[in-house]
């Protein structure tokens, strides 16, 4: 994958998503177009129900759009089948969730290894990389702890290490500080800033104006449409 600074790595065109809930049809996204360049730090904002999560799910290849196109690394992924989407998730995307979403029965290092496992990386290599990223988020002394033995901030750091371990094109963060106290939240944001500084592309959904301050670009959604796209 050729990686040029400020080159376009993802683009959505006229993206729409419609849910049918019983007899009611909900239009979650109505024609969203965005171009995302490598190394950008984007905050997606908007009130509840504006389509932030839907957009993030589609950008994360967890969901398919009802209309429009999504190019990721030059490839139209909006019509791919489940297996290909899984492969894209495991090789090109990293997720950080609000509720950490660690697997409870696995240790810290095993949790970080999960994406590598589905890529088929061999055991030693995957262990080496997992330890490397655990060290990078400052959890080298907690490798064999289970998630419930860690604080929220520590759990979220494990999640970030897990999101980084497969060297993704884009890191998608869904309210990563939503469940954290302000001190841990700041720590996580500092970590995300560091990632951005080291050249990673980060897309973060958030409610908080304060958090979005740090982002280089703020996309505001309202009723499934882009209300505002501000590059600073």
């Amino acid at each position: 994958m050729p990686m040029q600074d400020n080159g376009e790595i993802a683009r959505v065109e006229n993206l729409s998503k419609t849910y049918v809930m019983g007899v009611v049809t909900v239009q979650a996204l109505r024609g969203i177009s965005l171009s995302i360049s490598s190394g950008e730090y984007i905050a997606v904002m908007g009130p509840s129900g504006c389509g932030k999560s839907t957009l993030l799910n589609i950008l994360g290849c967890l969901d398919r759009p009802s209309g429009g196109q999504y190019f990721l690394g030059g490839e139209d992924v909006s019509r791919l089948d489940d297996d290909h989407l899984s492969e894209i998730r495991s090789t090109r995307l990293g997720f950080v969730f609000q509720s950490y979403n660690l697997i409870q029965q696995l240790s810290v290092v095993e949790n970080i290894e999960v994406p590598l496992y589905y890529q088929g990386v061999d055991e030693e290599e995957s262990r080496r990389r997992a330890v490397e990223f655990a060290t990078r988020v400052g959890l080298e002394s907690r490798l064999d702890h289970r998630p419930f033995e860690l604080s929220g901030g520590q759990q979220q750091r494990v999640a970030i290490a897990r999101a980084l371990v497969n060297d993704p094109l884009i890191i998608l963060a869904d309210e990563p500080t939503g469940n954290l106290d302000s001190a841990s939240g700041k720590e996580i944001l500092r970590l995300l800033n560091e990632l951005h500084d080291s050249g990673k592309t980060v897309i973060m959904v958030t409610h908080s104006e304060e958090i979005s301050e740090r982002a280089g670009r703020i996309v505001r959604l309202l009723d499934g449409e882009v209300e505002h796209d501000l590059v600073r």
């Binding site: 799910n57 967890l62 297996d83 492969e87 998730r89 589905y118």
Partner: protein
């Protein structure tokens, strides 16, 4: 281009490490089963009991039918045995009661059989008298068999030590005797039996041989097990726990044709020419036909049913048929219990899938394909069923051993029964694991992640 190259090399990687991945998946499966130890154990019990009971029951059945068949086989599958049976007493008036009861197979019957059936090879008549046999002060209750020299060969019952009597001794009616294994220890606890002398009635017999042990008697109704249990009460010839063999002519000479028995104060005399005769048929295929002809012959010449025809071959076939039916019944029980066990496993796996919806969502988000999720859950079910199978096989092999140890019953664990039971339990794992695994794999990742 580069991306497809990358995914290609990824595929090669996957292939190369497929085995180690499988190992990891199995480890993961064991881990999550271990996490719910009690639940896993309870789930597995259905399979354990199913497998174990099948193997144990098969082993017991196999042991029992083996013993039965062995006993029948010892009678000789080429033989047809005819026996005299005391006819049921007619409830006539007491004044008409005859003091001399005549019944049973006669020498004439044997001649008729020989004349009618040229394919009959050897006839072994036997006359059985129940007498007390003495050695000095020691006494035992004994059936004295007056028979012919080729008795051991035809009846598959051979001399262990010494020899059987010869044709000359038979014709002369010499007073020689061959003892059953049991008598030897009863009458000759210290001295060697062979060369010794025993007394029956007023006659003394020189002991010339000892037979090898023979465990049971066969009647037309089946197998009487054990030598020590007196089979019938009364004056029937076959009740005594021990047997002694003497030349037929000696028996005829000394005991005559009439036997007198004392029964509850009154005397009863019976005249029986022959108590038993063994007919050896040359070809196995003719045995059944020969038995039918013999039966017809006897029926034509006897007014009462004072005889029975025992065909070991027929009994053997009957035993085999019984065993087959037994196996079918067992198979049905096995199928049902494994089905129940499988449903139990499926039930728990469905619960487990629901409980772990979030985990499934996480794994899907991190790149797990549907296939990966299916494999993960399927391996857990197969592990459950497999572990259940192993425990069941172990118990199933242990139980017959314990039964043999404590109850003295013969049991045979055939090689195939644990193999089949185990592979069926593994199959149950796969079959009943498929649905929960598919359900897990078909969850929408977004929905699964949102699941609390």
């Amino acid at each position: 281009m580069t991306s497809s190259g990358k995914s290609q090399s990824m595929r090669a990687l996957k292939k190369a490490f497929g085995l180690s991945r499988m190992k990891l998946t199995i480890k993961l499966g064991m881990k999550s089963l271990w996490l719910h130890r009690l639940r896993s154990l309870l789930t597995v019990l259905g399979i354990v009991f199913g497998v174990c009971s099948v193997i144990a029951m098969l082993a017991i059945g196999e042991g029992a039918s083996y013993e039965a068949q062995e006993q029948i086989r010892r009678l000789g599958s080429n033989n047809v045995i005819i026996r005299s049976v005391k006819p049921p007493e007619e409830k006539t008036s007491t004044s008409q009661r005859t003091w001399l009861l005549e019944y049973g197979i006669t020498y004439k019957d044997l001649e008729r059989i020989r004349a009618t059936l040229p394919l009959v090879e050897i006839l072994v008549p036997a006359r059985i008298m129940r007498k007390d046999v003495w050695n000095g002060g020691r006494r035992i209750d004994c059936d004295i068999y007056g028979t012919v020299p080729w008795y051991p060969e035809v009846n598959n019952h051979h001399v262990a030590r010494g020899r059987f009597f010869t044709e000359m001794e038979m014709n002369d009616g010499t007073n020689v005797a061959v003892l059953d294994a049991g008598i030897e220890t009863a009458l000759f606890p210290i001295d060697p039996a062979i060369g010794g002398t025993v007394r029956a009635g007023s006659q003394y017999y020189r002991v010339i041989g000892v037979m090898e042990p023979k465990s049971a008697r066969i009647t037309s109704n089946g197998v009487d097990s054990g030598t020590t249990a007196p089979a019938k009460s009364g004056n029937g010839p076959s009740g005594a726990p021990y047997r002694m063999y003497v030349p037929l002519n000696a028996a005829r000479k000394q005991f005559g044709e009439t036997l007198v028995n004392q029964q509850s104060g009154s005397f009863e005399a019976t005249r029986v020419e022959l108590h038993e005769a063994t007919v050896k048929v040359a070809r196995l295929a003719d045995v059944i036909d020969a038995a039918r002809v013999i039966g017809d012959l006897l029926a034509a010449n006897h007014r009462k049913v004072d005889y029975e025809v025992v065909v070991p071959l027929e009994l053997l076939r009957q035993a085999e048929r019984t065993k087959r039916i037994f196996n079918i019944v067992l198979g049905a029980i096995a199928a049902i219990s494994l089905l129940v066990g499988g449903i139990g496993i499926m039930n728990i796996m469905l619960a487990s899938v629901t409980e772990r919806t979030r985990e499934i969502g996480i794994r899907r988000a991190l790149g797990a394909k549907r296939r990966d999720i299916i494999v993960q859950f399927l391996i857990e079910t197969v592990l459950l069923a497999g572990v259940g199978g192993v425990i069941g096989v172990t118990l199933g092999i242990a139980i017959p051993i314990v039964i043999t140890w404590f109850a003295g019953m013969k049991t045979i664990v055939t090689l195939w029964s644990p193999l089949i039971a185990f592979s069926i339990s593994a199959m149950v794992g796969v079959i009943f694991g498929i649905y929960p695994a598919l359900r897990a794999a078909n969850m929408d990742p977004v929905e699964a992640l949102r699941h609390e």
